[in-house]
């Protein structure tokens, strides 16, 4: 299979020397990585970045830091500052992340329990400078695209799990724009729901070149199928044998570079990569 042509432009997310400790106990440490805007000819191409790792290795903790909900103990998280972006050609400026800059959907798809889908989406857009008419149009279009038209006047307790999840994603997209973090968006979903989340990923990625999805999953094959970049979190091995008790990024796979990204299915090379990733995880 020919390797799809792409170019990487300026960084959209940069994490430097990040660590998070709770009550003096280090949970994650020495996290460093940079993700860049990817450009493909004739196609809007966002970024899809997966984080995998065994339970308790700090995926959720990392996500809380990336979304600005948790203040890092050391280091920093820098995200693209599109508000101060002059336009084409220029490097996108970076700024320290602040809560609200990055959309975050937790594993339980938490919503406001007292707002209907419609009210929640309007609330998510409360700070947008568009006119009421434009907001209403945008929300109406989104409701149709995400299959929530029929339930727009229902409260969270009247929605199915899949509908709740889509509402939670949509709400974050309307509120924070380009970045969205999803903590285990595939857990507890049936095959049909998994397909619809995959479609949602497609929808997000193809709607704007700068859109960036970060997600975690325990399904390695799914991560390989969807992501163009995979980070493996685990406990690092100590020189004298044994493992440290804090998580860090053990390995990074750039699927674009490997020619495995955007292939719309799994072939032998993908499965080989899955084996490699699982081996790294088991050894941590």
């Amino acid at each position: 299979m020919p390797k799809p042509h792409y170019e990487t432009k300026s960084p959209v997310l940069k994490v430097e020397d990040l660590s998070v400790a709770y009550d003096g106990k280090t949970i994650i440490k020495d996290i460093n990585f940079t993700e860049c805007d990817t450009v493909r000819d004739g196609k809007e191409q966002g970024q899809t970045i997966a984080f995998v790792g065994r339970s308790g290795r700090g995926k959720s903790t990392l996500f809380r830091a990336l979304s600005g909900l948790e203040v890092p103990t050391t280091g920093k998280v820098l995200v693209a500052d599109y508000a101060n972006f002059k336009g084409n050609g220029d490097e996108i400026p970076l700024k320290a992340v602040h809560e609200g800059d990055v959309g975050f959907v937790d594993q339980k798809y938490t919503l406001f329990r007292h707002k209907t889908v419609m009210q929640a989406l309007h609330f998510a857009m409360r700070k947008s400078k568009e006119s009421e008419k434009e907001k209403a149009d945008k929300i109406a279009a989104a409701l149709t695209a995400w299959g929530l038209e029929n339930v727009k006047n229902q409260y969270p307790n009247e929605l199915s799990g899949g509908q709740r999840q889509r509402t939670a994603i949509l709400e974050q997209l309307l509120s924070s724009g380009t970045f969205i973090i999803l903590d285990e968006p595939f857990s507890g979903l049936d095959v049909g729901n998994i397909e619809s989340v995959k479609r949602a990923f497609d929808l997000i990625c193809s709607s704007h070149e700068l859109n960036t999805i970060l997600f975690s999953t325990h399904d390695i094959e799914l991560a390989i199928e969807l992501a163009d970049s995979i980070h493996v979190l685990g406990y690092p091995s100590l020189p004298g044998g044994g493992h440290a008790s804090h998580g860090t990024i053990l390995k990074h796979f750039d699927l674009k570079e490997l020619g495995l990204a955007w292939s719309g299915g799994l072939n032998g090379d993908h499965l080989e990569l899955a084996r490699e990733i699982k081996a790294v995880m088991l050894g941590s």
């Binding site: 909900l69 959309g103 406001f112 998510a124 409260y155 974050q172 509120s175």
Partner: protein
Amino acid sequence: MPTCRRCRSSSRWANFLSQLRYLPLTGITFYLAMIVSDARTMQVWVLVVFMSLYFITSLLGVIRDIPQEEIDHARSLGCSRWEVLMEVVIKGRLDYVIEVLRQNLAITWMMLVTVESILVAAGGLGVLIKNSDRFMNHGRILALQIVILLVGLGIDQFLNYMRKVLFRYSRI
């Protein structure tokens, strides 16, 4: 809970008030007697004071039980501290307030009769029951108790109904 200095000091106040519910009933009437002299007003005040203390206690419990996820969800949508307070704590828990009120009214309703029989001067159902007891009028005691029970249940059902009508999302 997101902690700001004002939230913390007001929650300390609430905790203090909540602890006052352990003051004995007769103790409270003693302090109130220094402020009000009319027996009827006195009865009402004893009930109000008691009910408020229990009410604050229950509300503190409701707030403590708000899951961190709900607060983080609001924060991830760019809510300021005040918006979190407004959306998650106040609007998001309004239905619990009615529920708490209902539970507290049940206690107060039970206390009503007791308070009336402590402060006999103003009369009331409690006094009626006490007097009937003294004159061995068992039929009347039973009748009075049924009346009290029915009115109490009526208030309870009404509040429960109102909660469900006003807050469609409310499943407690």
